[in-house]
Structure formats: C-alpha cells, structure tokens
C-alpha cells in the first residue's frame, strides 16, 4: 500500500492581535480607575483635653464664633458675611485683627467654634478656613455644652 505523503501540519501560532486589543483595554480601564479618585486633604485641630494642674495658668484670648443653621456667623452679637458666601472674608479680616491684638499682648489667640445642631459641615469648614487664613491655629469646638 502506497503511503500517502505525510501532510505537514502548520505550526501553531497564538493570535496576537486580539490579545493585544484585550490587554490594552484592560490597561486603559485600570489606568482610568486609578487616576479618577480625588485626593483628600486635611484640616487638623485638637479637642479640648486635660490641662496640667501644676502648670501656671495663662489666660488666653478667646473668641467664640457662633454658627447658625442658615450659615450665618455671629461673633460678639455682630454678624459677619453673607450666609452663602464662598469664603468668609469679613470674618477672616476680623480674626486677623484679633490675632494681631493677641500677638501684641503676647497671649495665645484661641477660637471656639460653637455651631448649632443643624449647621452643615461645609459651613464649619468655611469658618475653619477663615481661622486658618487669619493665622489662628488654636481652634476648639464647643462639644460639651448643649448648643
């Protein structure tokens, strides 16, 4: 019996083009999802803690900023800025003067923020921004008393 000549099998190859398409697609997906997240930034403050009893008491200068639910900011019965202002410019200016006066007397300037219960977090951050702009770093919150 005559043998049929053996048919030469074609060498197996991997289809590269569709694979590259797939890999590119995955690459783009992961690149986009990695860059989409917005970076978060910090505002640091300290809660009123324990005072060391044997340290000499120096009375700091303290101002209380009252914040109302509609966004109104009141210090010493005087209202500052429009409730919907993007930045509290008047408040920052007043706080700068307060800070300068405290510095002149060589005492610490302390701010206590006393927001009402229905104040939105956004407004509190705007008040903290104003304090920061005035260079006041000692910011407290009224948390113990029922506001």
């Amino acid at each position: 019996m005559a043998r049929l000549p053996k048919k030469k099998q074609p060498e197996p190859t991997m289809p590269l083009a569709p694979m590259i398409d797939c890999v590119f697609l995955l690459l783009i997906y992961f690149m986009v999802s990695a860059t989409l997240e917005r970076q978060e930034a910090d505002i640091v403050f300290e809660l009123p803690g324990v005072i060391e009893q044997d340290s000499p008491m120096e009375m700091p200068d303290e101002q209380i900023i009252e914040v109302y639910g509609n966004g109104q900011v009141i210090v010493n019965d005087y209202s500052y800025d429009e409730p919907n202002a993007v930045h509290f410019v008047e408040l920052a200016a007043m706080l700068s003067r307060f800070k300068a006066a405290s510095d002149a007397n060589k005492i610490d300037a302390i701010i206590t923020i006393a927001p009402m219960d229905d104040v939105r977090h956004e407004v509190i951050i705007k008040v903290m921004d104003a304090c920061n702009r005035a260079g006041i770093t000692m910011v407290n919150f009224a948390i113990s008393e029922e506001a």
Binding site: Q39, I43, F45, P115, D129, I143
Partner: protein, 122 residues
C-alpha cells in the same frame, strides 16, 4: 513585538495592583466639603478613619457602626497606639449635631487629635 507586549503586561499588572491596594483601603464615597486652606498630608499613617454620611451614619472602613461600637473601637485602638489621630470624613451636608456626637465620643476616650477631611479648592 515581544518587548512591547512585555511592557504592556508590566503596566497592566502595575495598575491592577494599584487598584487592588486602593480597594483594600476602601472607604465609603462622600461629597467632602471644599476647603482652600487644607493641605494634603505627607504621611497617612497613624490614623483612624471615620466616615459620616449625610444622615449621620457612622462608618469605619465600609462597615456601619453605632456610636457606642465606634467609641469602643477607638478606645481599643488608642490603647495600642496613644498617638492615634482620628480622621473624620464627613459629607458636606452632614449636620453638626452628628459630628458633635462623634467628637464628644472621641474626647471621652482620649482621642484629642482630630482631622477633618476635605477636598482642596483652587
């Protein structure tokens, strides 16, 4: 062709790892308030993240907790690491009433250093 495929695979693996790592540190998505004065920290270590959504629900990682449970967690964490900072991620619409409860709970267990998370505005 081969070197290009190598490169692309390498990039793919890199971005996959990055996204997996980002998932591990997953927190719930919130519309944080914008601040012009906030700064992106150099180090994110030594922090306990607490998220507060619009209704004032408390989350640690993506797990919802009661105020008491949260306080116990902070208490344990602060015992292990006294320098722990509490990072509060609150939605911009969250009412102060809810934030006050969290601040109070933190102060009660000795966590005095608190950070508010914001987005930087230009």
């Amino acid at each position: 062709m081969a070197p290009m495929i190598d490169m692309v695979f390498l990039l793919l693996v890199f971005f996959m790892c990055v996204s997996v790592l980002a998932q591990a540190d997953k927190t719930i998505e919130l519309a944080l308030p914008e601040s012009s004065e906030s700064e992106v920290a150099d180090s994110f270590s030594n922090r306990g993240k607490i998220s507060l959504d619009v209704e004032g629900n408390i989350f640690i990682s993506a797990q919802i907790l009661t105020l008491r449970e949260m306080q116990n967690k902070i208490k344990e964490a602060i015992k292990m690491n006294p320098g722990l900072k509490i990072q509060i991620r609150a939605d911009k619409e969250t009412r102060y009433e809810k934030i006050k409860e969290v601040l109070k709970a933190c102060a009660e267990v000795g966590a005095y250093e608190v950070i508010f998370s914001t987005y930087q505005s230009k």
